[in-house]
Symmetry: C2
Subunit: 152 residues, 2 copies
Amino acid sequence: MKLSTKGRYGLRALIDLAQYSETEPVSIGSIAARQSISERYLEQLMAMLKKEGLITSIRGAGGGYVLAKEAKDISVGDVLRALEGSLEPVDCAAFHTDEGCDASDICVTKYVWHKINESINQAVDAIKLDTLVSESKAMQDKHPSGEMKCKN
Amino acid sequence: MKLSTKGRYGLRALIDLAQYSETEPVSIGSIAARQSISERYLEQLMAMLKKEGLITSIRGAGGGYVLAKEAKDISVGDVLRALEGSLEPVDCAAFHTDEGCDASDICVTKYVWHKINESINQAVDAIKLDTLVSESKAMQDKHPSGEMKCKN
DNA sequence: AGAAATCCTAGTAAAGAACTAGGATTAAAC
DNA sequence: GTTTAATCCTAGTTCTTTACTAGGATTTCT
C-alpha cells in the first residue's frame, strides 16, 4: 500500500510548478534542481500530468510548463490518479465490469476494498493544490535556508 | 497503492478461518483448498497473523488454527497491518522520528500523506471480522454451488 | 510407530519500479 | 539562419520486491 515515486515526486513537482509559474513557464530543469529529482525521470511524469490535462506545455527556448487550470481546481486526487492510476487497493472486477472475476456476486472482500477506495478518494479529493502552495510558501518564509530536501 | 497478495489472501483466509473454526481447529490445508491459495504460501501468512496475536495454533495431528479473540474484536485493519505492515502511503519520517528525513519541518506533502493514512485506517478499523463472516454465510446460502472463486 | 499437522529458514523466478539513454522536434534569441 | 534552450517520444536497463517453492524439523494424536 505504498505510493511509488511517481506520485510522491509528481505531487512535489506540481506544487513547485504552481508556486513558480505565476509569471512565466517553469522548465523541467528548474523543478528538478529545486526538488532533487532526476530531470529525465521528471520529464516522464510531466508527460503524464499533461496527458491528464493538469498542465500545459510551451515548447522551445524559454518554454516550460504552466498549470492548465487554477490551483484551487486541482486536487491531490487528480494528481495522484494521473500518476499512479486508480488508487483502489485491489483491481477488483466488481468495480469495472469489463474484467472477469466470476466471483463478484459471492465475494465478501470486495466490500472492504470498496470502502478503502472510497475513503482514500475522499481524502485526496478534499485537498486542493492552492492550499499546499500557501503552506509551502509559509514554510519557506519560516525556514529560508532552503537546505533541507524532502525525499517523499 | 495496491495491496499485495499477502493482504488479499490473508483476509480471505481469516474470514474462512473464522467461519469454520467454531467447533474445531482449521488446518492450513483446508483453508488453502477452499480459497485456492498455495498451502506453502498460506503457511507464511498464518505465521504473521499468529505473531500479531490474531490467531493461535494447535500443533500435531488434528491441530490447526483458531481465532485468538472474538471475531467482533478483530478489525480488517488489524489483519491488513499484520500482513502488509503499516498502511501509510509513504514511509514518512515525520511520523516515526527514528528515520532521518531532515526536511520534516519544511515538508508540505507530509500533511497529505498523513491525511490519507488517517482515512485508510479509519476505514479498515471500522470493519470487523464478524460482519464479514455473516456476509460470507449469507452469500453462500444464496449461491450454494460454490464454484466461483475470487482472486482478490 | 506412523500420520497429520505446524514451524522455520532459505532459495528463486517473474514482475514491476526507477531510472538512464538517445535522439527528434520546436521556437526564441542572437 | 544558426545556435541554444526547451519539450517530446520511445527503448533499454538495473535494481528491488513479490510471490511463491523447497526441504526439512518438530509436535501431537491415534
